[in-house]
Amino acid sequence: MAAEPDAGRQKELVRLVRQDCGSCHGMTLQGGLGPALLPASLHDKPAESLVATIYYGRPGTPMPPWQQFMSEAEAGWIVQKLMSGFPQ
């Protein structure tokens, strides 16, 4: 596992997820046009495929690729946090 993003970057990523991912998945991540991103809804999904979904998007769905805004390691950190309960 790559090094965790530093504290400042973590804060940016949390805000990005809550505010910008939140426009489809809901600010509380309970789902909207996109599916819920709560630990209970993600627990049976492999982490690598979730990282790939964030990083490369999902063609045929509205999920866009976020690779111009984060590294793959940062996408991995987001997935890890989503699966264990995302910070406020």
């Binding site: 505010q19 910008d20 426009s23 809901g26 600010m27 309970q30 789902g31 509205p62």
Partner: protein, 387 residues
């Protein structure tokens, strides 16, 4: 001394609590999405006059108004429907009507409030006076399959038009008998993401995400079915990733032309509303989210999806191009014009401010503090079809 102060305080409270004799035509509310509050605002003084909490999850919240402009109905993401008295600045009623809602609308006669839901997918109708549930229409487009509902808009005769994201259809539900609505279904296309009704109430348009184009239903002649307009406006070009779905409500018609956000493109589409053919495109500095006309139609203001959501472009409809481009703040999520358009209010989410601009000079004439502001809704919506 304490007694005197106490008395003065009580006197002050009485003075504030008494009914204020004033109209509501220059009032409005600002959604504070992260904290479950709304701030009530006065567009004449350009100041807030009250703040109300306890509205739940207000991400993507919107509001409509009773026909007298006194009550706001706020639709929260968590399925909360809250009725607010704009004059007494208090919640008069609140119900949790679903698990995951995305907006609502009010009937032509003002008696029915309809909410559109993602989960469980469908719409629900409530008595505007009491918020009592009157009826519901589940969006079951195939046996056992429910769709998220988007683009709900009111139209004449207490009918409501809306689109089904997974179902790929436009539905029109008639609530002339509010307890027993009847529904007509029309094929729309792949993944409608939002909808709108034209200012005259005649056409319902549903923007499509899954294909280039817009589905259009003539509500005066629904028997003719929905047809596609602006088909293949991308002409096979690769679409840019879409980081935020455009919003069609609050769209713009000016000088016989409609201005629509192009999905996945840095363009505003210009459409002749007589023929519904594309007559032009205006390049802008990002993917448009809201494309809204000033009430007189002379200007069209455009905000953008992440990562360009600090920018605003203003199109002059006479010359057909952007005449003013600026960066008013961080995270510009929404805009609302004062009733006759001399000012526009912009929510700058990441600055925790609402910014007020003069639309003739583009100068900032005021700002108010708000916690992560998103939607701004003025009472003038009470008298507009489709708002």
């Amino acid at each position: 001394m304490r007694l005197v102060l106490g008395f003065l305080f009580a006197l002050l409270l009485t003075a504030c609590a008494g009914p204020q004799v004033r109209g509501t035509g220059d009032l409005g509310l600002v959604i504070e999405r992260a904290s479950g509050h709304v701030t009530l605002v006065d567009t004449t003084s350009r100041q807030p006059y009250a703040r109300i909490g306890g509205l739940g999850d207000l991400s993507h919240a919107s509001a409509v108004y009773s026909r007298d402009g006194r009550y706001a109905f706020v639709f929260g993401r968590d399925g909360g429907l809250t009725k607010i008295d704009m004059l007494e600045a208090r919640i008069v009623n609140r119900v949790i009507q679903s698990g995951n809602a995305i907006g609502g609308s009010i009937s032509q006669d003002g008696k029915i409030v309809v909410v559109q839901n993602y989960t469980p997918g469908g719409i629900k109708a409530f008595d505007a006076a009491t918020l009592e549930l009157l009826s519901e229409v589940p969006a079951e487009y195939a046996p056992g399959k429910f769709s998220k509902v988007v683009g709900l808009a009111d139209s004449a005769g207490n009918k409501f038009a809306y689109a089904l994201f997974e179902g790929g259809e436009i539905w029109v539900s008639n609530f002339s008998n509010p307890k027993q609505p009847t529904t007509q279904r029309f094929t729309a296309g792949s993944q409608p993401y939002d909808g709108l009704v034209t200012p005259d109430g005649r056409y319902f348009l549903a923007g499509l995400f899954g294909e280039d184009g817009v589905a259009m239903l003539d509500l005066w002649q629904p028997e003719k079915g929905a047809r596609k307009i602006l088909e293949k406006y991308g002409r096979g070009e690769e679409k840019l990733p879409v980081f935020k779905m455009p919003h069609l409500r609050g769209w713009s018609v000016a000088q016989g032309k409609a201005y629509l956000p192009a999905i996945g493109r840095h363009e505003v589409l210009v459409v002749d509303v007589a023929t519904w053919k594309e007559v032009g495109r205006i390049p802008v500095r990002g993917q448009p989210v809201f494309v809204m006309a000033r009430p007189d139609g002379r200007q069209v203001w455009v905000n953008f999806a992440f990562p360009d959501n600090g920018k605003m472009d203003v199109i002059d409809t006479l010359v057909g191009k952007v005449v003013h481009a600026f960066e008013p703040g961080k995270g510009i999520l929404h805009m609302e014009f004062t009733p006759r358009g001399e000012n526009v209010w912009l929510s700058a989410r990441d600055d925790n401010k609402v910014l007020i601009y003069d639309t003739a000079t583009f100068t900032r004439v005021g700002e108010i503090a708000a916690d992560n502001p998103s939607g701004i809704f003025f009472t003038t919506r009470a008298a507009r079809i489709g708002f």
